[in-house]
């Protein structure tokens, strides 16, 4: 088995890091601390600068300003081969002309290790990623998921303190992706290496990560554990990029005890004030579809609105009712119990609790 005692995660810190390409700022000055041994995800839409951040950590791109520290050491001036990091590329970048074990052992070869010892280590790593006995194949002879694991083994072979993964699962189909998520998570636990995982797939980030940074247009908007990101998003972008939201736009009537009362065409809604709103300001009230329900059993202080049911989608365990209330489109989730669909026709009254809703300034939302 692999000598796991040798592997140890280290902390990564970005200190005022910014990345510019000519006039274009791909990453605005960012401070970020990734704890040693944690599974950290950077989540954001395509083109927001995720890969650029990763390349700065790995040393392939020099920062325009700021510093990169790994385990407290300033590595800003070091090349990628001199940093205790290993990068798994978006395309995997396996060496097609080498066998699987030679791929895995390439980093060891570069360190001048003897062939027999290399082979032994490679086999141990292949066992770690459940690829025993595949060492003599070529990468092209493996399935997508297996290639993925070869890339992980190859990166782990150099015993990095930080493993950087750039959307490594994006090429796999859904089932395999779910399986590999669990596997990556398990490998991370077993090795204790710090994983910095980049993805634009929120499901991936939410299921695997200890903490998530949500990034938008070159800025990190929120860094928190998955449940906090989901339940208490701090910006309209985070709120709408991660999961679904029903959005009602209106004007603030009053603010009290952390709650804002917003008058919208759909009704007067109370919601947690997440933007320090002032009366008279434009605002958007957001609430998740699964926190929106038919009004029948709603508590007395719930926000209520009437809407027309446009369509019902079957999602298996629950139903999604697509509603229209004036200008606003909304959705609500109902558990798929016997007769659940029966009441969902024509005009319905829906309700959500003020504690489940958040009020932001409008704008800055994720598309779609």
């Amino acid at each position: 088995m692999l000598d796991q005692a040798r592997m140890q995660g280290r902390e990564v810190a970005l200190d005022g890091l910014s990345m510019r390409f000519g006039d274009f700022t791909a990453v605005h000055p960012t401070d970020l601390t990734i704890r040693a041994g944690e599974f950290f995800s950077i989540l954001g839409p395509s083109g927001c600068g995720k890969t650029t951040v990763l390349r700065a950590i790995s040393g392939f791109a020099a920062p325009s300003a700021g510093r990169v520290l790994i385990g407290g050491d300033d590595v800003t001036a070091l090349g990628p081969n001199r940093r205790p990091t290993a990068l798994i590329f978006q395309s995997l970048a396996l060496f097609p002309l080498m066998t699987v074990w030679e791929n895995v052992a390439f980093g060891l070869e570069a360190r001048g290790m003897a062939r027999a010892e290399r082979r032994r280590r490679a086999d141990a790593l292949l066992e770690l990623v459940a690829l025993e006995g595949q060492g003599d194949k070529r990468p092209a002879q493996l399935s997508g998921g297996q290639r993925q694991r070869v890339a992980v083994a190859r990166a782990l072979a150099v015993e990095p303190a930080v493993l950087l993964l750039d959307e490594p699962l994006s090429a796999l189909d859904l089932k395999l992706r779910q399986h590999m998520r669990a596997e990556l998570k398990a490998i991370q636990r077993r090795t204790g290496v710090t994983f910095v995982y980049i993805t634009h797939d929120q499901g991936e980030a939410l299921t695997m990560s200890d903490r998530i940074a949500v990034m938008n247009a070159g800025r990190i908007e929120q860094v928190d554990a998955a449940n906090v990101i989901y339940d208490r998003p701090e910006t309209p972008f985070v709120a709408t990029f991660v999961g679904e939201q029903n959005v009602f736009e209106g004007r603030v009537e009053s603010v009290a005890e952390g709650f804002a009362a917003v008058a919208t065409p759909q009704g007067r809604f109370r919601a947690i004030d997440r933007a320090g709103l002032a009366p008279g300001e434009a605002a958007a009230v957001m609430v998740r579809p699964e926190r929106t329900a038919p009004a029948a059993n709603a508590p007395s202080d719930a926000n209520r609105f009437t809407a027309r049911v446009e369509r019902i989608d079957m999602e298996g365990p629950y139903l999604i009712a697509h509603l229209r209330a004036g200008d606003a489109a909304a959705a609500l989730h109902v558990p798929n119990l016997a007769g659940a669909a029966a009441g969902l026709t024509g005009a319905v009254e829906a309700a959500f609790r003020p504690e489940d809703a958040a009020a932001f300034r409008p704008g800055g939302r994720a598309r779609g």
Binding site: Q90, F95, R154
Partner: protein, 396 residues
Amino acid sequence: MAELVRAYGRGLAAVFAGLTAVWLVLMVALPMANMTKRAFTLEIRDGPSAQMRVELERARQQIAVIDFDIAAAETEIARGSAPAAAPSPSDPFAGLTGRASPGMAAPSPGGGGAEPPEARIERLRAERAEAVAAIPAMAAEVERLRAGEDARAGLSVENFTTMSPLHWRVFGLTFLYCVAVTTIALVVCYPVAYAVAQAQGTGRAGLLLLGLVVPYAINELLRIFAWTMILANNGILNGALDALGVIDLEGGETIRWLASNGSVFAVMVYAYVLFMVFPIYNAIETLERAQIEAARDLGASVWRIHRRVVIPHAKPGIAVGCIMTFMLSAGSISVPGLVGPGLHPDWFSQIIYRNFFEAANWNVGSARALMLLILSTAFIIGVMRAFGVGVKEIAK
């Protein structure tokens, strides 16, 4: 073929197939067959039959001369027996025939006394008859001798085995030189091709390639001639050295660059680099950049990245580049001819050229050309073995 029909329809496919067949037959099979046949056919050029044929030719010529003289005498008679003390100026052949046929026994009209034209005609007619009578025997003799020689000639490897030791030496040296040129070109071109292929931004790579191609818009001879201007004794290079004070041109101090193997190599590398750069560039171009980065990330040195990742990937391109450069330099006449005049030993291709166009000995020339072809083929096979690439990969 079935695929071709599917892709282009019956008509076009037939046209393709037809053109390919014509090309194969006319441009490949026939010349090759002809060359091979000639190479293995011994042609005896100055045997007895050839000498006899020369004599036969001479006899025929003599008859023609006599005919001229007869015609001249007849004209004289027709003019009204005016005494002809000197050759008629209207007969420009008179003097000529006297010189051209030293074997003629009769005095020519110019040198003769006052023989009357009638008598002269009589004598000439007799002479002519005699000469004509001798011809069949001579022709038969030529045929007889030729038949004897043909029996000896025919299929033979003598064209190969009779090559002089000097030419064998040239043959061997040409191979070594071409290997040297190929190696130099590879060493020079690989980094260039790598740099261009890795250049960031398509615009930059395009510009670099354009820079490589532009010199090739100039005719090959001119390109080489430009080098002779640089390398000449009073050329640009020596001029520059003079300006730098390294040598003293005024004092008759020159460095002889031309006619040295070094400059032949240099110019040949320059003349054919593109054929090395392009295949390698194309091969490296298709290498995923991330693979190089991955190797670097894993701590590999520049040397190891090239040895383990880039070169294995570029192998087919390198093989093609080496083959092309080798073939071109092995067949080059203009570079050794212009840059290395008087340099001995010569390039083997020059020997072939001389056999064809100076000695007009096509059979020996064909044999030499065939030898060069075999050498090149051996080199190709050797390179493909060495690089472990098959025809399929090269075609890719």
